[in-house]
Symmetry: C2
């Protein structure tokens, strides 16, 4: 955790315990820092698991192994290493992951592929096996910790711990989803994610949980960007212990399936927004709402082109309603657009309509809107019914300071 | 022109006069600044023209009109307005361009489509017709100016005037290419360019000139990026007056065709590098050489993914040999790559080979290399014979300062 907390930080929510889930933290000492950096979460037998992973071709061994293991659908434990991503470390990195899986599987008397491992931090340094072994050993005997401690322990350049909560009534029972997530830079998940973990007591079949998680991902994690850089380690896993005792959900027609899906979407959206709000150097949270595109996916791509434009992001940092830069970003997105039908607004006030600045455009309400912490940009392409919302943060001196100094 | 000159600036070269080309500058007063902002270049009858333009869908009227006009292959004049890009200004913007074309065509007794107009500056404000008319009127009667004055006059956020020179022997005669270019931010031409003008006394058929310019563009302007943002006004035009008196070149087998093509490539490469060296906030010029890709275009795309990565660019700004960020950028490029065959070096020293950090990697020579103004990154994908070089600059506090303040 960094010292200077993001001005967009939210207080950590009061996350309840989830039956069948027990988090612990320990010090592996992956970096020379006086904090816990290994998180171990024990899961009850029969816990279902689903996951989405980075599409970065140069992904870590953790991602490769996790992507395979999630297919069998069951999990008994999660281990998260902070301070070393173990990515681009060849066979030595892979051996370290397998050692952790074996150590935990021996302890729980489960199979290795029921143990999920993630690592986050610097790329290119093999995870030291001795530190990992001692860290896991300590975590296995540590007293259970709070969600907030776990959320702090998985963080690296994050400036605040991030948690999310949602509930739904399923089969007459209230089920709970508790989630923790880390992420601040190298954030442009595009069809994947950062490190995020969702725990629920809901009973749900792994295949259907995967289907719902993938759908939620498309609307949430795939719609955020901090810096357009896609990490080699992005992972979101959802664990369902089934301890709520509901009739297991296994299809979209099942009682409670819609309620659970809505709660899962809600918690994923909260998590995605928290990552943007801790974007490196972020001073403002930006929502970009695109309408009138030829379809929803085209709207999302136009939104992401705007969200990834350094010129748009610096304009917002400067509280400048520079809609010309938004026009530029729409035009370079590679999606259908017609300059003469394009309209652009800020905070609900149109600045330009149908390809021209509005003659009676009043910049005063827009200027006031841009001074706030939460900024919205509205773009209407005037072509069809496609729409999407994406989220990003502004690009400030803080981003440069953080990233021109990190590592070495 | 900005006050603080880029540390990467080159002195303006001694560009000779080109027979048949006469530059003039005047004050249109597009902005409230005490400098010339309208450039008028008169071209001898029979001058051939070729051009490449932005692919941004929201392009300016200047680009739309120029793209059509270049097809007829002849030019008599060039007018460049600085301080107002006239983009996203609807019919009013188009009328201003047509007024300039008509005014100059009347003066020269030529057709309107032989008058090429470009504008650069803020987006969304229609070019004021009265200022344009008075500016053109002044320019038509102004004394001829130097190339350096013209190069200064087309600039906006540029910190130094940019010129390039090349010669070739064609048909026993030495022909000359003189070029001026402007550009500093919103630079990611990708198949197009910024505002650049090449003047030569060579006799060459317009169609063949276009072919050579497009080929040069692919290797030069399409291989640079400052900030991944593609302008709405990018234009490069080449004018050939034919005054050298050589046998006109009209095909690749013609005497002197190869020499002329090499000189054109050379001048385009010089121009492209100058724009990067004046990249907003640039402190270092970065060359990225990619080899071992499945083909050259794939190598170029991998190179551009690295060149556009904010995390790579800030690492270079911090003189940090953070090759893990290069791995990340290779992996997100969307091109064929194999993590376990990937090698990465800086300034000729390999840091990682075949997917792993080198055991005997000595960071000392790399650290020394990164302290310089010119940095090279080498990436070998280990897959095939495809190779490309691309160029960018580092991402610094200067970029943020420039772009969080500009306009409004």
């Amino acid at each position: 955790m960094s010292d200077a907390v993001s001005p967009l930080a939210s207080p950590f929510p009061a996350l309840p315990a989830i039956a069948g889930v027990t988090p612990h933290v320990a010090r592996a000492g992956y970096k020379d820092w006086g904090r816990c950096d290994l998180t171990y979460v024990e899961l009850a037998e029969g816990t279902a698991v689903a996951g989405v992973f980075t599409r970065n071709v140069c992904c870590s061994s953790e991602v490769e192994i996790g992507r395979e293991a999630v297919k069998q659908g069951r999990a008994r434990a999660l281990v998260v290493n902070a301070g070393n991503s173990n990515a681009f470390t060849g066979y030595r990195g892979r051996e370290a992951v397998e050692q952790i899986m074996e150590q935990v599987a021996d302890h729980l008397d489960c199979t290795m592929d029921e143990v999920f491992v993630s690592s986050t931090g610097v790329i290119g340094v093999p995870l030291p096996k001795d530190k990992a072994r001692a860290g896991v050993e300590a975590a296995l005997v540590a007293a259970p910790c709070s969600w907030e401690e776990a959320a702090r322990t998985i963080g690296t350049t994050d400036t605040f711990p991030k948690g999310a909560l949602a509930t739904a009534v399923v089969d007459g029972r209230t089920i709970t989803l508790a989630a923790i997530i880390k992420g601040s830079g190298m954030i442009a998940p595009d069809m994947a994610t950062m490190l995020g973990y969702i725990f629920t007591d809901c009973a749900i079949a792994p295949g259907y949980l995967q289907e719902l998680l993938s759908a939620a991902n498309r609307k949430t994690f795939s719609c955020i960007t901090v810096d357009s850089d896609t990490s080699t380690s992005d992972t979101v896993l959802a664990f369902a212990t089934g301890k709520a005792g509901n009739q297991p959900i296994n299809c979209s027609g099942c009682p409670g399936a819609d309620a659970f899906a809505a709660a899962l979407d809600d918690v994923c959206r909260q998590m995605a927004h928290l990552v943007v709000k801790d974007g490196e150097g972020a001073q403002k949270f930006i929502q970009i709402a695109v309408s009138g595109a030829v379809d929803d996916e085209s709207a999302r791509k136009v939104g992401m082109a705007i969200a990834n434009s350094p010129l748009v992001k610096t304009a917002i940092a400067g509280e400048d309603a520079n809609w010309g830069r938004v026009v530029m970003a729409v035009g370079k997105a590679g999606e259908p657009a017609d300059r003469d039908r394009l309209s652009i607004g800020f905070g609900g006030t149109w600045a330009a309509k149908d390809g021209q600045p509005l003659a009676d455009y009043d910049e005063a309400p827009v200027a006031a809107h841009l001074k706030g912490r939460e900024v919205s940009i509205e773009v209407d392409l005037g072509l069809g019914e496609g729409r999407a919302k994406v989220w990003t943060c502004d690009l400030t001196h803080g981003y440069i300071s953080i990233n021109a100094d990190y590592r070495s």
